[in-house]
């Protein structure tokens, strides 16, 4: 059982501490020739795949680097717009790395506050008397546990359950597509 990340949220819903202990995310690097058969769109200041899922590149993955140089949101490291850069056939063949986008600090703050509200709604919609908020949230990839103290602080923790077969299969596939192997 591995801990992915720890968040500490105060009584008002604001994030006060956050720590990530990441397992490496699935990233895929491929070389493309003109024209690019993926459809990219700008979403939340990042360039994200919206159509054209193939070979480990899934819808929702963001552009992480171009020709080995990390990108800066929707601009390359030099400051050019990536979409314009990719429309020009002179820049091909180009090697682009895609992967799940990492959360920025701003997004973490927003997500922590969102969780605080969901915690409260979980308690309000309860069919039983005296229910607390959400203590454990389960998905097929991770489990989120939340502990609330008597003073109102709460500690949502994201755990990776290593007994989950599907999560292991995903991790194995990610290893096979990595640049080193």
């Amino acid at each position: 059982m591995a801990i992915f990340s720890v968040y500490v949220v105060n009584k008002a819903g604001g994030l006060i501490y956050q720590y990530d202990n990441y397992v490496p995310r699935a990233e895929v690097e491929k070389t493309f020739s003109f024209p690019l058969d993926l459809v990219l769109k700008i979403y939340d200041e990042k360039l994200v795949v919206s159509f054209g899922q193939r070979d480990g590149i899934r819808v929702g993955h963001a552009v992480l680097s171009i020709n080995g140089v990390d990108v800066n949101g929707k601009y390359t490291a030099e400051g050019k717009e990536i979409l314009e850069y990719l429309k020009d056939p002179a820049n091909y063949p180009v090697s682009i790395r895609f992967g799940r986008p990492r959360l920025t600090s701003n997004e973490k703050l927003m997500l922590a506050s969102m969780f605080h509200s969901l915690f409260a709604i979980g308690s309000q919609l309860s069919p039983e008397v005296g229910s607390s908020g959400i203590e454990m949230l389960e998905t097929d990839v991770f489990k989120l546990h939340c502990f609330q103290t008597l003073t109102g602080l709460f500690f949502p923790l994201i755990l990776f359950d290593q007994n989950l077969k599907s999560a292991l299969e995903i991790a194995e596939k990610a290893g096979a597509f990595g640049p080193g192997s």
Partner: protein, 151 residues
Amino acid sequence: MTVHNLYIFDRNGSCLHYSEWNRKKQAGISKEEEFKLMYGMLFSIRSFISKMSPLDMKDGFLAFQTSRYKLHYYETPTGIKLVMNTDLGVPNCRDTLQQIYSTVRHTHTHTHSTLCLYSGNCLSFAAVCGVHREEPAVCAGRVSPERSVPQ
């Protein structure tokens, strides 16, 4: 093992069906508002976990539990969402929800078909086409008359 209630939502957020068996506490708001709140909460949870998740997800959100109840969630590829609240003793209700969905689809033919669920310690169904059969002591089923569970 107790089942408290069951909600069925369509892809636009309207509640197609709600059944209640053993609910001890009402939400304190009207039923329409409660359906909207429930749907909104599920929508937010799904978007929350898709951002938070460290790896790509396949099935997404499965269930959550509090100190008193557990909420099970199943969404079909067409956007129909089935939500069931049970007590904490129930391990995994996804198969049951999948069975509910497949049984309702299979037997539904008319526009005013209703789904009647009996429950004691297990769930069994009587899906009746065109006629609503009432068992007031056990089952309180509510179906919006204009809507029908889609094929």
